[in-house]
């Protein structure tokens, strides 16, 4: 049984299920309740997170397991790491991924490395939920796509769902994974509606999904750009070009076999990523193709990404900052 839910509601449902099922799961972050604790004033759950994603949790599970934190990201993530290493299974919220600037150490030098440094004698079952991406007129410091940065760090896993059903299943899998997982929520997708199965289910980390079958060219997307790819594929179909669309879903580990399989099938590949071009997922996909996929290549591998610039505020600039179906179509035409 499934029904239509928004991306935000699907995540909210996953959090309820995870907290119901395991008393060690806690939720902490800035305004995850919002005024959480003014119960006497009838104000318990004023915000439930900036997007309402955590709404209702404090009523259901209480202020001990659902914590509004100080504006102290290093302490939020650092304490979450310490809690995870000692028996809890925290879901910490980093309100915007851009704030990794003030909280990278707990991820880079602690969560990612404790197990290795300790010779395998610790587990860090931490999930960090974070809102990322451009398109919301939020400007340079609230719009970045930094999952390449977290994917570059051995010891972390990074996922980025493109639809409500995947968001729910991937979040449940992330929370139950015994490794630190960075869970990226593209902010412009939060109110997108989609069919979401009821109940408790997990989508395995590290597995891509084929969103659309095709034979002439492969389009690889992540999060928001999966939709860009599908739009392009539909337009290309009208011109008789059959594009296969792959949703990476997990960025670390990345599903190399799925990428190689679609490349073998089509011989042509375009990767679409809303991140800036240097040292990111798009380069990793291209590098994989020219290494293990070399024999399948009938054309260059094209990367359609944001430009090497900060995210501009002006709507007219932000709209061209993001990859568009038109740019994908142009890239495909160069390959045929």
């Amino acid at each position: 049984m499934s029904r239509k839910l928004s991306f935000a509601a699907a995540i909210n449902e996953a959090l309820f299920i995870a907290m119901e099922a395991d008393p060690d799961v806690i939720v902490m972050g800035e305004d995850v309740a919002g005024g959480g604790g003014r119960a006497e004033q009838g104000i318990e759950d004023a915000w439930g997170g900036i997007m309402g994603v955590t709404r209702g949790l404090i009523k259901a599970f209480g202020p001990e397991r659902v914590r509004d934190t100080p504006i102290s990201e290093t302490a939020i993530l650092g304490a979450a790491v310490g809690a995870a290493a000692t028996g809890l299974r925290p879901v910490a919220e980093l309100m915007f991924m851009d704030f990794i600037g003030v909280s990278l150490d707990p991820l880079l030098n602690q969560a990612a490395k404790l197990r290795y440094m300790f010779g395998g004698k610790v587990r860090v079952p931490l999930t960090v939920r974070t809102s990322m991406g451009a398109g919301a007129r939020a400007a340079a410091q609230h719009s970045q796509t930094l999952y390449g940065m977290t994917s570059s760090i051995p010891g972390l896993k990074t996922v980025c769902p493109s639809n409500p059903a995947d968001a729910k299943g991937l979040l449940l899998a992330s929370i139950r994974d015994d490794n630190p997982v960075i869970f990226c929520e593209q902010k412009t997708l939060m109110f997108m509606q989609g069919e979401v199965p009821e109940g408790d289910y997990e989508i395995p980390l590290g597995k891509a999904a084929t969103v659309r079958e095709g034979s002439d060219v492969s389009l690889i997307g992540v999060g928001r750009t999966v939709h860009t790819a599908v739009e392009a594929a539909i337009a290309l179909e009208a011109d008789g070009i059959s594009a296969e669309v792959i949703d990476l879903r997990s960025l670390s580990p990345m599903d190399e076999e799925a990428i190689l399989a679609t490349l073998e099938k089509t011989g042509r590949l375009v990767v679409i990523d809303e991140a800036t071009p240097r040292c990111g997922i798009a380069s990793d996909v291209a590098a994989l193709c020219v290494d293990r996929g070399f024999d399948f290549l009938n054309a260059p591998v094209k990367r359609v990404t944001a430009p090497h610039t900060p995210v501009p505020f002006s709507p007219v600039l932000e709209d061209i900052f993001l990859p568009t179906p038109e740019r994908v179509i142009r890239a495909v035409r160069e390959l045929l």
């Binding site: 800035e30 003014r38 915000w47 504006i71 102290s72 704030f99 939020a138 410091q141 501009p312 007219v316």
Partner: protein, 322 residues
């Protein structure tokens, strides 16, 4: 530091401009003409204006996400600011920055900042320049109560204190950080006391009263100019509107805001006290009110009419001399 008639006129004009600027933005958003994250300063005007009245172009101001008031008080052009919020090429930052990043170094405005607490080390750096280059200037950092829980606050104040930097750190304690009341996240009520960790003077000012802010910040700024080091000033204040335009304001009682507006509004307090001083009359103020309306009206009209940036602008200003 006695205030002249001109000072009073100028101060009122700025506070009034800030108040009405923010109120205009609410109308514009409601009318669907503005997008973006807008954090309004209404209610806190006495802080920005009370402090900036002491400053000139040698002096640097650094701000936070709630920066419109600091920009206006430091003399940033209102037309440019309005155009910036519309994302137009005539904006202070060519439309590339937006509300959280308005800056104008010619006016000594080192920028609003979207990262809570991140401006505080920048303020220390601006003060370092003043100290080493002997500019005679001071650097002012504005930030909120919530920002004092960021590590950047702690590190920057310690560095400023040990180096006796010519800086003044102005904490605008409006009792909330987004939807979270300060008492849920901060175990003390007087943030000025945090100055003791750095052997720095900590002063409390009535952030709703221009004259109190003016007096106390004046002393701190003089101290900094004399080379005697930084001061932390906590201004007790209140934001009238939501954390951002669109905030449902579900986390605080309506009456709470009403009480502040009724009894402590900075514009009304200013008017009463200023008239008592006998240097200005209410006609002067009403004249300013209508000047301000005219200014804002022309700013909105100009901003709406102004052109958007060109597509090429997306790629410029990333590096010097691309």
């Amino acid at each position: 530091m006695s205030l002249s008639r001109e000072d009073l006129i100028d101060s009122y004009r700025q506070m009034r401009t800030i108040r009405r600027f923010e109120e205009r933005l609410v109308d514009l958003v409601t009318a669907g003409k503005l997008a973006g994250f807008l954090h309004l300063y209404a209610g806190q005007e006495a802080v920005a204006v009370g402090v900036c009245q002491h400053l000139d172009d040698r002096d640097i101001v650094n701000s936070n996400h709630r920066g419109h008031g600091h920009c206006i008080a430091k003399g940033v052009d209102v037309h440019g600011m309005m155009a910036e919020l519309f994302g137009k090429s005539t904006g202070t930052c060519k439309g590339k920055g937006g509300s959280m990043h308005i800056a104008d170094l010619e006016r000594g405005m080192l920028g609003a900042n979207g990262i809570v607490g991140a401006g505080i080390p920048l303020t220390a750096g601006a003060a370092l320049t003043a100290q080493i280059k002997r500019t005679g200037g001071v650097a002012i950092g504005f930030f909120g109560d919530g920002a004092t829980n960021e590590g950047a606050f702690h590190e920057a104040l310690n560095m400023a204190a040990i180096w006796k930097l010519p800086a003044v750190f102005v904490c605008e304690n409006n009792l909330y950080g987004e939807a979270t009341p300060m008492e849920f996240v901060t175990p003390i009520t007087d943030l000025a006391n945090r100055a003791a960790s750095y052997n720095m003077p900590g002063v409390i000012a009535d952030g709703m009263n221009f004259f109190d802010v003016y007096a106390k910040s004046g002393e701190a700024i003089d101290r900094a100019r004399r080379g005697d080091g930084p001061t932390l000033i906590e201004c007790k204040t209140y934001r009238y509107m939501g954390h951002y335009v669109g905030d449902p304001l579900t986390y605080r009682r309506k009456e709470e805001a009403e009480e502040w507006r009724q009894n402590r509004d900075c514009l009304e307090t200013f008017e009463t006290e200023a008239l008592e001083m006998g240097l200005i009359e209410s006609d002067d103020l009403r004249q300013i009110d209508s000047d301000v309306e005219a200014l804002l009206e022309s700013a909105v009209v100009a901003a709406e009419a102004a052109p958007y940036p060109n597509p090429e602008d997306l790629l410029t200003d990333v590096y010097v001399s691309e």
